[in-house]
């Protein structure tokens, strides 16, 4: 028991792990607005403030639109700024998300993935973060509490790197990870402190000797398009920075990260591509199916923006068939992750057949049974070389539809 407390191996919720990372990062400003299932993060942080465990200015606001606005102001002033949100909260701050990214402000924001209304639902799906795909934020995804903690710490280094200067969203599954207790290992405070360093703001508003303007009008005769191209280039440069941050992080944690994790993928013939906690359950089923002699594997995507298309195509090109799991809908077409994966594979000389499953909307369980069902369908596609249906649903109940 004594050794364990030295290593700081703890039983924690995902929210608790994220709050711990925030405490160790000790941002200058923490903007808080509560929303299920994220609330515990800013609640824990308010305790850290009350206990004097952090030096942060804790700003409470009246909505998420205001919380992102406060983040933008504080970040432009030169502060290291964090907030956290979920679902409707992320949706409400939508227009401000573009302003944060377009103003090149390295704000860090954990987003605890939750469905969007209607009908009202507080449980996990990825509709919120997928809706923010084009806002210009870097998006990282986390399978479990450990990864949510690790991603939050790495996010600071990625966001504030001068080659990048973009906001980062760290996603974790609502309730499944945010409220479930599991084992995680926390790094020593001093190591995290030295890993994240101090923010060295580029052209901060509070540098009164070098006055600058943020967010002015930039119309027809201006450079709007060049600004946007510049912003897109920064997102491109984030690729190397994400890998560099991961390499340095491995030195203090012993845990390795890249754009994605490959699980028994090398010698697989069929594989699932997915995000967040469903990857864990899929791994469990892969172990069972491997024991039955089936060549199955997994690619768990960690970095959704920038999208690692080239690397992903390289990792998947040898497969016969791939199923992409989407915990979000894009009514009228396929799931959002499927679109990206299919695009990444399109220009390969030979490429796997790709099918799409929508799963887990509004927190519907993704159990071992659903994972097996996806692999069964993949086996049929691999055997016949034919796709019967591109888009399917996992775990759907049979119901009578009125309208």
């Amino acid at each position: 028991m004594k050794n364990i407390s030295k290593k700081r191996v703890v039983a924690t919720t995902g929210n608790g792990a994220v709050a711990e990372a925030m405490k160790q990062i000790n941002p200058d400003v923490l903007v808080a607005y509560p929303i299920t299932p994220q609330t515990a993060i800013v609640q824990d942080f308010s305790q850290f403030v009350a206990d004097g465990a952090v030096d942060s200015e804790y700003v409470t606001v009246e909505s998420e639109h205001s919380s992102m606005s406060a983040c933008i102001g504080a970040s432009a002033a030169g502060a290291r700024v964090m907030t956290a949100t979920s679902s409707q909260g992320l949706a409400l701050m939508h227009e401000m998300l573009y302003i944060a990214a377009g103003s090149r402000l390295p704000i860090i924001m954990p987003n605890v993935n939750r469905a969007l209304s209607a009908p009202i639902n507080i449980h996990c799906d990825h509709s919120d973060s997928m809706g923010a795909r084009d806002t210009g934020w870097i998006q990282l995804y986390s399978e479990n509490a450990q990864e949510a903690y690790d991603n939050t710490i790495q996010a600071v280094r990625i966001a504030e790197n001068k080659k990048v200067l973009l906001p980062v969203m760290v996603n974790l599954d609502g309730f499944i990870i945010s409220h479930g207790i599991e084992k995680a290992e926390f790094i020593e405070d001093r190591k995290v402190k030295s890993f994240v360093g101090e923010r060295k703001p580029f052209l901060p508003l509070l540098d009164v000797d070098n006055p600058v303007t943020y967010g002015p009008f930039d119309g027809l005769g201006g450079y709007f398009m060049e600004h946007k191209k510049n912003q897109a280039d920064a997102m491109e440069r984030a690729r190397d920075v994400i890998l560099e941050a991961a390499e340095d992080f491995a030195k203090i944690s012993g845990r390795k990260y890249g754009f994605f994790e490959e699980y028994l993928l090398d010698d697989a013939e069929i594989a699932i591509v997915t995000l967040n906690s469903s990857a864990g359950t899929t791994k469990h089923v892969i172990n069972e199916l491997r024991a039955e002699g089936l060549p199955v594997g997994l690619l768990k995507l960690r970095v959704f923006r920038p999208f690692p298309a080239k690397e992903l195509a390289e990792a998947l090109k040898h497969l016969k068939a791939v199923a992409v799991l989407d915990r979000a809908l894009s009514s009228g077409f396929v799931g959002p992750l499927f679109s990206e994966v299919q695009t990444a594979l399109f220009n390969l000389e030979t490429r796997p057949k790709v099918i799409n499953f929508i799963y887990g909307l509004g927190g519907r369980d993704y159990t071992l049974h659903e994972a097996r069902k996806a692999f069964e369908e993949l086996m049929t596609v691999a055997k016949t070389g034919k796709i019967k249906k591109t888009l399917g649903y996992l775990g759907l109940k049979e119901v009578e539809v009125l309208v």
Binding site: I4, N144, H179, G180, I181, E182, D365
Partner: protein, 190 residues
């Protein structure tokens, strides 16, 4: 694959099933195991039937869905037997532990299953004697430790004292430890 032990807890809101699920996980973690603990995320209110889950394994646990085939089922409130199918999915060599005055053989008739081994303990009376309140979660942990050997009795009482020494008075701490020990002694099998 290393075997992962899965526990499903049935209780009513306020009886401490979720706390018990977390506590068992914490004790196992302190003993070097990998763990998970989580409630079923439904509407939570006093007296309503609730479920919680604990997973314990020597190998890392990567599964993120509710327990469907528990090795161990713990029922904190016997009135649930009439309204919840507590033995659902129980593995063949499973254990089902129930808070009741009745004998295991009588409870088995009520359960309507031949699966697993049934154990009973009068956790409510133990809680009333030791704590003065009918909160059966700590005695149920004592009984569970005896029946399953998942963790040792000493580790359990040590961990309890360590975890709750800030939250509870010395008297309540002692009462709980006594409750764990008494249930450990009094639990009955078939």
């Amino acid at each position: 694959m290393e075997k992962c032990i899965e526990v499903r807890w049935h209780g009513r809101g306020g009886q401490g099933a979720v706390t018990a699920a977390k506590f068992l996980a914490g004790t196992a973690l302190a003993g070097g195991k990998n763990i998970q603990a989580f409630p079923e995320y439904g509407p939570e209110r006093m007296g309503a039937p609730i479920q919680a889950f604990t997973r314990i394994s020597s190998a890392p646990i990567s599964i993120y869905c509710p327990v469907e085939n528990p090795n161990i089922v713990v029922v904190l409130d016997e009135t649930l037997l009439d309204i919840v199918e507590v033995a659902k999915g129980l593995s063949k060599d499973g254990v089902i532990l129930i808070n009741t005055l009745d004998d295991p053989a009588d409870v088995r008739k009520k359960l309507g299953t031949k699966k697993g081994k049934v154990y009973t303990v009068d956790a409510t009376s133990i809680a009333l004697d030791t704590l003065g309140k009918p909160i059966p979660n700590t005695p149920m942990i004592g009984a569970l430790v005896k029946v399953t050997g998942l963790v040792s009795l000493g580790d359990t009482t040590d961990y309890f004292t360590e975890s709750f020494s800030k939250k509870f008075s010395q008297q309540i701490l002692k009462g709980n430890v006594e409750a764990i020990k008494r249930a450990y002694k009094e639990v009955r099998g078939e």
